[in-house]
Amino acid sequence: MKRRTFLGLLGAGGAACVLGQSAHAAGPKEFPGYPGSFGVLFDATRCIGCRRCEAGCNQVNGLPAPPEPFDDLSVLDRKRRTNAKTYTIVNRYDNIPGAGGPVFRKNQCQHCLEPACASSCFVRAFTKTPQGAVTWDGSVCVGCRYCMIACPFDIPTFEYWEPLTPRIMKCTMCWPQITTGKLTVPGCVGACPVEALVYGKRSDLLKIARGRMAAFPGRYLDHIYGEREMGGTNWLYISGVPFKDIGLREDLGTTAAPQLTSGALATVPIIATAWPALLVGIYAIHRRMDKISHEEQVQAVTRAVAQAQEEAAAKLAKAKADAEADKKAAIAREVKKALEEAAKAQTEEDK
């Protein structure tokens, strides 16, 4: 729980610098794994492909019996993967240049330090335990299968045949059995007859791996698979042949899965805060522009009306003045006429 919170904070913290940066770029913070967490070291130079680990796993986890018994080695003729009834499988890899014979490799959950499945689960059904195991809680799982999309190692499997209660099935590194004291080492490790598997603290396993490399020069490639892949895993591999030849991808990079999506998730709060302001701003600008254009319209109309009125008033005044002048002239004319007539009458009277 705390770890998830931490991952969330990590995502949010990386937010500021992620926009416009490569999603692959590692953030300034790094999670080196829980100190003292346990893991398993697999040595491909020791594995003989006997499938005892498969049988051991099947037994301690109470998984259904497979169609072919575990001592039937013909199943190694085809490439297999884990499924909802099998937490671990061993594959045989033939014709590897320089190997001088077949090489076997066991596959199961790698128990990443920062698991893609846990980071991608929208109900937090996965837990990275401080002891190293990645476990799954069936009480909240919705069955969306995004963990299966996210896992770079194709590990989580699904009970497709279950109509209503399908579970995600995967290796637990026998965490339930070990924490309850039923086992001291995982079922597969206990069943291995050639010590191709070693269970221990991850830090110790890294030392053991380097020790073997030093003790047997030329036997191993100088690479511990899982030390840095996808940010590091609790399951580690050493081999004498390239890992890509025994089904382990070498192109996964060293970026932990949560970092791949932290940048995109970081934009969420940014959008949530910036978008409403931006959108209201755009809306307000339009309102304002509408208002201004309306005001301008009103002003233009007012001006036009005022001008027209002025012109009309001037015209009227002129007409009035003209009329007044006319009137005055007419009066003057009439007065003059009357005076003239009066004068004329006077003259006639005088006569």
């Binding site: 929208f122 909240v140 497709y160 399908p166 409403p276 959108l279």
Partner: protein, 413 residues
């Protein structure tokens, strides 16, 4: 009456729809008795099939018309698109409802779909963000759509309350859409080792968001064309008079968005320096998508606007919609798990396809049921906001009649 109904019942449309519904019902029973294995080709290597690619990814992208149209009208002030808002909101609301409906088939325990919000939240998951935004946006779309129903039922007061919230709802819708449209692309950011480099990019969220806008605009044009064909008698003069403006306005917008989309895709290739992949088989497929379904419709849209050719706009819209579907299929299926040997790749079973067809059919039926009854393509006479344009007459009374008269083709009536 009875002979009349008998006749109308046996139309080819009803027969086809009936068969689809029957088959859909049958597969639904199979899904919930035999599990996903009984009806799908999903495997542990291919956990997501077409119910995610089509029903979820395409469904959400093609329902983007809701937020683009309402944003254009209410936020960007393009008021002449007003009559296009209601059909777009209805399409979006139904689209999102069907997305959620379809998820009930796909997830293992559908009744737990609310768990991420109410029981235990995985906030580091992109899927959590998608789920939360889709959940909230579905509610938003419902509230945006509900005035149509309230007008139909004659509830004036609650209708007016919601109408007053239009701007807030629109902004909420745009914010949520920005987030989850892009987050659908961000879902695949966690799997760089499984998605082909030509489709994987840190810009996947941006690609999904921008292309969703083009999809939304094109779907409004496309849906308008279909509605014109089948629901013409439900449209009022305002809708019909604005329709051409909407068609060409949206075409212009889509052309610009597609051009932007084209160039940011190029930017994506350039930044990751993935040019060498263009000369592979996947490269040819990528170019087919980018040139045939992004560049070509962009050009056709631009040409159609210039020539004022509405038919060409519609063809460009169809091409864009197909292009979005192709893109979502490419990201989630074709280019996903590209490194697996052919025998381990996924191809949908006929039953998966049938369920998707079934869901689209249900959507069409509900759309028609609502559009033939509620004020979608016309303004309810009692709730008119539009001042009729000059020279236009009030045409309200004739629609009262439509409202009460069931559409002859409506199934079940």
């Amino acid at each position: 009456m009875s002979t009349d109904t008998q006749k109308s019942w046996l139309t080819p449309f009803n027969v086809i729809v009936g068969v689809i519904l029957l088959v859909g019902g049958f597969i639904t029973i199979l899904r919930f008795t035999k599990g996903l294995a009984g009806v799908t080709n999903l495997t542990d290597n291919n956990p997501w099939g077409i119910w995610i690619s089509f029903d979820l990814l395409c469904g959400v992208a093609l329902a983007a018309g809701g937020f683009t149209t309402s944003a254009a009208c209410y936020i960007f002030g393009l008021k002449r698109f007003h009559s296009a808002v209601r059909p777009a909101i209805l399409t979006a609301f139904l689209g999102y409802s069907l997305v959620v409906f379809a998820l009930h088939y796909d997830v293992g325990r559908p009744w737990r779909l609310p768990y991420p919000f109410f029981v235990q939240s995985g906030t580091t998951s992109v899927l959590f963000e998608v789920g939360l935004c889709v959940f909230l946006y579905l509610i938003t779309l419902f509230v945006e759509w509900v005035p149509s129903a309230l007008e139909w039922l004659g509830f004036k007061k609650p209708r007016n309350v919601i109408i007053r919230m239009t701007l807030a709802l629109t902004i909420f819708g745009v914010v949520l859409s920005t987030m989850h449209q892009s987050s659908l692309g961000a879902l695949y950011l966690i799997a760089p080792s499984k998605l082909h480099p030509l489709w994987y990019s840190m810009f996947l969220p941006l690609f999904f968001f921008v292309s969703a806008i083009a999809a939304g605009l094109s779907m409004v044009i496309f849906e308008g064309t279909l509605s014109h064909h089948y629901l013409h008698d439900k449209m009022d003069k305002v809708y019909l008079s604005e329709h051409e403006g909407v068609t060409f306005g949206f075409a212009k917008g889509a052309a610009v968005v597609l051009v932007v989309y084209f160039f940011i895709k190029i930017v994506g290739i350039t930044l990751d320096n993935n040019w060498q992949y263009l000369f592979t088989g996947y490269g040819a497929w990528f170019l087919f998508e980018l040139l045939g379904f992004v560049a070509l419709p962009a050009f056709l849209y631009a040409l159609a606007v210039r020539e004022h050719n509405a038919t060409l706009v519609r063809w460009a819209a169809v091409l864009t919609v197909l292009g979005i579907i192709l893109n979502r299929f490419n990201v989630s299926l074709v280019a996903f798990n590209w490194q697996l040997p052919p025998a381990e790749r996924y191809f949908p079973s006929w039953m998966e396809i049938a369920v998707s067809v079934f869901i689209v059919t249900v959507g069409l039926l509900v759309f028609r049921f609502i559009a033939t009854r509620m004020p979608i393509f016309y303004e309810h006479p009692a709730f008119k906001e539009h001042v009729p344009h000059e020279g236009e007459e009030e045409e309200a009374p004739e629609f009262v009649e439509h409202e009460l008269k069931p559409h002859p083709q409506t199934l079940g009536h």
